[in-house]
């Protein structure tokens, strides 16, 4: 007991000198929803197809440069936790595809220096004035910016009905891409 008392006197100051007290502050951070899509190259991204009559009578018209793969689809996407994925649809939004002609579009699988969960190609689709999915299953991701990043777009035309082909001069139409919530 005698030594216990003195031990108490020695240790008690050490115990009490190590006292502590805490204070707290909250840190808040919000990441917003993001849904952006564009076509590269920026600026002039026109694609031109030409249907020419054959030089020999009786032959079918020919399509000059029937495919084009110069365009790339870039997108950035951040979804709320309650939403699974997004899709990109394509449609002919302004103008009409000339009669007798079919226009097809196919997106490649994702490539480039992006990150996250990019979408998957839906394969070739025929473009019309109704939106159709081109890429589906887009999660939280970014594809990278510019030509060579994202999904390469291949556009192709074919003459579907020779009887419907008529001289139409120059016809233009716009393909509209929309990043849409599923």
């Amino acid at each position: 007991m005698k030594y216990g008392s003195w031990l108490f006197f020695v240790l008690f100051p050490l115990i009490t000198f190590g006292q502590w007290e805490t204070g707290q502050v909250s840190v808040f951070f919000t990441l917003p929803e993001v849904a952006l899509v564009d076509i590269e190259p920026d600026g002039d991204n026109r694609v031109q197809f030409t249907v020419l009559p054959d030089s020999e009578s009786g032959n079918a018209p020919t399509v000059e440069h029937s495919t084009d793969n110069s365009l790339w689809l870039n997108y950035s996407s951040a979804l709320p936790a309650t939403q699974n994925s997004r899709s990109i649809t394509a449609e002919v939004a302004q103008g009409v595809v000339p009669r007798g002609i079919k226009l097809f579009l196919e997106a490649s699988e994702f490539s480039g220096n992006g990150g996250g969960s990019p979408g998957q190609t839906a394969g070739p689709i025929e473009l019309s004035n109704q939106p159709r999915p081109v890429i589906s299953g887009i999660g939280n991701c970014y594809t990278g910016d510019g030509v060579g990043s994202g999904h390469q777009i291949t556009l192709a035309i074919e003459i579907a009905d020779y009887t419907a082909i008529e001289s139409a001069g120059e016809t233009s139409f716009v393909v509209l891409y929309t990043l849409t919530d599923n």
Binding site: F12, P13, Q19, G23, L31, S77, N140, Y142
Partner: protein, 169 residues
């Protein structure tokens, strides 16, 4: 008999003398890191820079009563820091640094404070941040947030910074 009386006095008064040597740490300001969040304007890109806020949190270290302040006005102390996550993602890296020295409380002199002037990551485990002597108020801190990306998705994140002041003996 005298010995026993001394022991009794020691048991009664020593705790009273020592238990009051407690420091308190007070924090001002909740932190909303979004103010400088850059908008993504080009499809295909991600957020590119860290977010940094200047002097948004102020820490004060004070005595809890005037009696102890009078007895030991230059008591040494250390501040440790950790975070407690409410809704967080491990990819988010939060850093802090001391951007100033604060000021002595009701005293014209310069505050005696050291360390913590370089950014350091705040983890879930308490780590030494800075140290000082006596009462110092309004010690300004800056915060920096790294690691946020579109790949985290949209959502709200919250963590709590816990400052602990220890008697430095």
């Amino acid at each position: 008999m005298i010995k026993q009386v001394l022991k009794l006095v020691g048991f009664v008064f020593l705790p009273c003398m020592l238990s009051g040597q407690q420091l308190v740490v007070q924090i001002e300001g909740d932190v909303y890191m979004n103010e400088n969040l850059p908008a993504i304007s080009e499809a295909g890109t991600d957020y590119s820079t860290a977010l940094e806020t200047q002097s948004v949190v102020y820490v004060s270290v004070l005595y809890d009563d005037q009696l102890n302040k009078g007895k030991n006005p230059n008591e040494k102390w250390r501040v440790f820091l950790h975070k407690q996550n409410m809704e967080w993602n491990d990819a988010l890296v939060l850093e802090t640094r001391r951007t100033g020295s604060g000021s002595r409380y009701n005293h014209p002199g310069n505050p005696n404070i050291s360390d913590g002037e370089n950014f350091r990551q705040i983890t879930n485990n308490p780590a030494y941040f800075f140290r000082g002597r006596g009462e110092i108020v309004q010690i300004p801190l800056a915060l920096k947030l790294n690691g946020f990306s579109l790949t985290l998705g949209a959502g709200d994140f919250e963590t709590s910074l816990v400052f602990t002041v220890y008697d430095d003996w």
